[in-house]
Symmetry: C2
Subunit: 132 residues, 2 copies
Amino acid sequence: MRFTKATNYALHTMLMLVDASPVKPVGVQQLAESQGVSPTYLSKILTRLVKAGMIESISGANGGYRLSRKRDDITFLDIIHAIEGTASLFECNFVHGDECLIQAVMKEAEEKMESHLKNTKLADLAQRETKV
Amino acid sequence: MRFTKATNYALHTMLMLVDASPVKPVGVQQLAESQGVSPTYLSKILTRLVKAGMIESISGANGGYRLSRKRDDITFLDIIHAIEGTASLFECNFVHGDECLIQAVMKEAEEKMESHLKNTKLADLAQRETKV
DNA sequence: CATTTAAAGACTTATTGTATCCATAATATC
DNA sequence: GATATTATGGATACAATAAGTCTTTAAATG
């Protein structure tokens, strides 16, 4: 069980967009190049963030992507959910008498992680100077 | 990113072993049947728990598996690590200036989850009566 | 020795991740 | 309005991982 590379691309792209102008969009070409990934593939990933309402895309010359939400509203969890989906990390498909105690524990654990990801906002990192 | 089914099998098997006799081993046949999985496959999974030192296997007639450690020592994290490996869930392979801030956040989140899994012991569930 | 039972290795098969390529749609600029 | 620019969507390819089977070997019991 690992987070996908797509999630890594998404997080890094979002961090770049948070640092970029909120008006002038950044082209996928530029975003892709700085991460060493093909523009078409990154575009596919970013489309998911668009559908999640976190960024918006502008077609045509000088187009690209820019944030659609307030910088301070975007959490790590938002981005991860948009890419990895929101399904539970652990699913016990056995038919027990009642609820699965193991699954309950796993769910609690997952919630601890999610809680941290929900409380950490992209903007928290944007300040610290490291880019990409 | 999901936990594998193998982890689910391992956790349920361990719960059964905790409830079983600490002396007389339980055959993989029986363990597999109650989970609807093939004995050979489950055996493959349990071998990893053996190598991790959590259970021991006894070959030959009347053989099977039984706990090798004190019941109260076995945590969820032990089992999960034995099956899924101990690698970090998130790995940023870009070459940043210094450390990756995104990875740092992800690691913190993962640690929250692991902390809960480390603090929850199998024996905590064994009491409550639900089986498998 | 015959039977039972786990271990190990080789081998499928299915699913998911990681892309690439191309055609299409939308927009800005001239 | 024509053209260049940029994102979107679909089809496809390839690799890695998950999930599982089969067969043989090794160990223990009676």
